[in-house]
Amino acid sequence: MSDILVKIRDLHFSRGNRKIFDGISLDIPRRGVTAIMGPSGTGKTTLLKLIGGQLRPDQGSIEVDGLNVHQLSTRKLFELRQRMGMLFQSGALLTDLSVFENVAYPLREHTKLSDAMIRHLVLLKLNAVGLRGAADLMPSELSGGMSRRVALARAIALDPMMIMYDEPFTGQDPISMGVLVSLISELNSALDICSIVVSHDVPDTLSISDHVHFISAGKIVESGSPETLQNSKSAWTHQFIHGDADGPVPFHYPANPILDDLYQEGK
């Protein structure tokens, strides 16, 4: 069993005219938290969808656990997906099912376990995220942070080998943020799996990551441990990590010189 769980090689992907990935190659280790960071709109969510096989690359390959994702038959792809957990930005809980039923859904679909066993498993998973008491609530009654925790419980229902987190920290209050951050980290060590976190929240993500890939303008700008990135000499990385208003990503949207615009009216 190799150390690398996800191998991306020379990935090219465009949406319409926009080139989202321009020949990206990266490795994601089998254990530990790997962060994929970058400015908004660089296609980080797209990368997760490519890994999960929901999108096809224009060029290049993605291998998960030795299997080329986009060459699998539908059946094999579905089998592979059962070993991947994904946490969507909005939680994506099924709104007509209760919290309990949502977490039980993958178990009911893919296993033939008895109701009693499913009940035990669901309650244990909910307990891991601290929401065992909320089992009978409906998704509409949950706060944003709670929805994400339930979605997390659902993502680990089948004990996957990796979990992908799509912008888990966006729009959370400090307490939920703290809960999610510690959950991601603790779950990863407790289950000894691979966690891929896609985010642009610098401090929280770096605090739990073992390895970071920084993507900008369709290419990998830098990879390494959090310390390496924080001390980086690259202007891009520096601007991102320190939140500088101006740098390689300019403050001003490309425009004519201001004097030209102001005096245009007169003519």
């Binding site: 969808k49 579905f78 969507f88 809980l93 099924l94 709104t95 993958p106 979605a151």
Partner: protein, 263 residues
């Protein structure tokens, strides 16, 4: 000047090609949905649940509409026939109109408006909140779980609803004709018994409503599945469902009527 004209023609070309592309997508989608229906034959629980939300909940509007349409038909037929002394034919006129045309068509239009738009909104919302994506990532096929049950429920419910519409309409017409207008109850029932043919009128009406059910359900689930996942896109999708379904139903009605009822 010509440049503008050429631009417009080019734009028209783009729009037309886009429409054909969409139509093609819809066609492929239909085949996928039909292929996904096989699960339902084995495990019909999802289908039953959808038949409730699609069929049973549309029942009220169908019954009320049927009743009033039947009553109005009776009144109008009476006014039209009484000048010829042929008011005893009210029963025949109402029955034939309902069974051949009004039953299938009005039911289908009401269905498209109530159940069709609800289906589009439901599926579109699931798309917008990434529930469909989530299901895919959980290795559950949303076609089989979400789309196919709703499609099947629509196709099956439509003929059932149309039959109820026609029956209620005839009963409503009976009440108006015999109780209100004082026509002979025997004439009301016996004339249709001679003129209304089981195969030509009733069965053809059922076939019509089956075809309408297919069309309305297909358009409803496709628009939901294909919509732009924003609130604006969802609104556009539901509007499109109602408009396209209605037009398609009326168009198919013409074709089917010409095929079935021409001598």
């Amino acid at each position: 000047m010509f440049g503008n004209l050429i631009d417009k023609i080019q734009h028209l070309g783009v729009v037309t090609l886009g429409s054909f592309q969409r139509l093609g997508r819809a066609g492929v989608f239909l085949l996928e949905v039909i292929a996904s229906c096989t699960d339902l034959l084995v495990k019909p629980t999802l289908l039953v649940k959808q038949m409730f939300s699609v069929g049973v909940q549309t029942l009220i509007i169908i019954v009320v509409a049927g009743l009033f349409v039947g009553m109005v038909m009776a009144l109008q037929s009476y006014y039209a026939l009484v000048d010829f002394g042929a008011e005893d034919s009210v029963g025949v006129m109402v029955s034939l109109s309902l069974l051949r045309e009004l039953g299938p068509v009005v039911t289908a239009l009401l269905f498209a408006g109530r159940a069709g738009s609800a289906l589009t909104a439901e599926i579109g919302l699931m798309k917008a909140t990434e529930q469909l994506s989530g299901m895919e990532m959980m290795a559950v096929n949303p076609m089989r779980r979400i789309v196919a049950p709703r499609f099947m429920a629509g196709v099956i419910s439509m003929p059932l609803l149309a039959t109820i519409f026609s029956a209620v309409g005839v009963l409503g017409a009976y009440v108006v004709a015999v109780q209100l207008l004082g026509l002979d109850s025997g004439a009301f029932w016996s004339q249709p018994q001679n003129k209304v043919d089981l195969y030509e009128d009733i069965y053809n009406g059922l076939i019509k409503s089956l075809v309408f059910g297919l069309i309305a359900s297909w358009i409803a689930v496709f628009e939901g599945y294909d919509c732009i996942p924003t609130s604006e896109g969802l609104g556009q999708a539901t509007t499109r469902t109602v408009v396209y379904s209605s037009l398609a139903i009326l168009f198919m009605d013409f074709i089917l009527t010409a095929l079935m009822f021409s001598k």
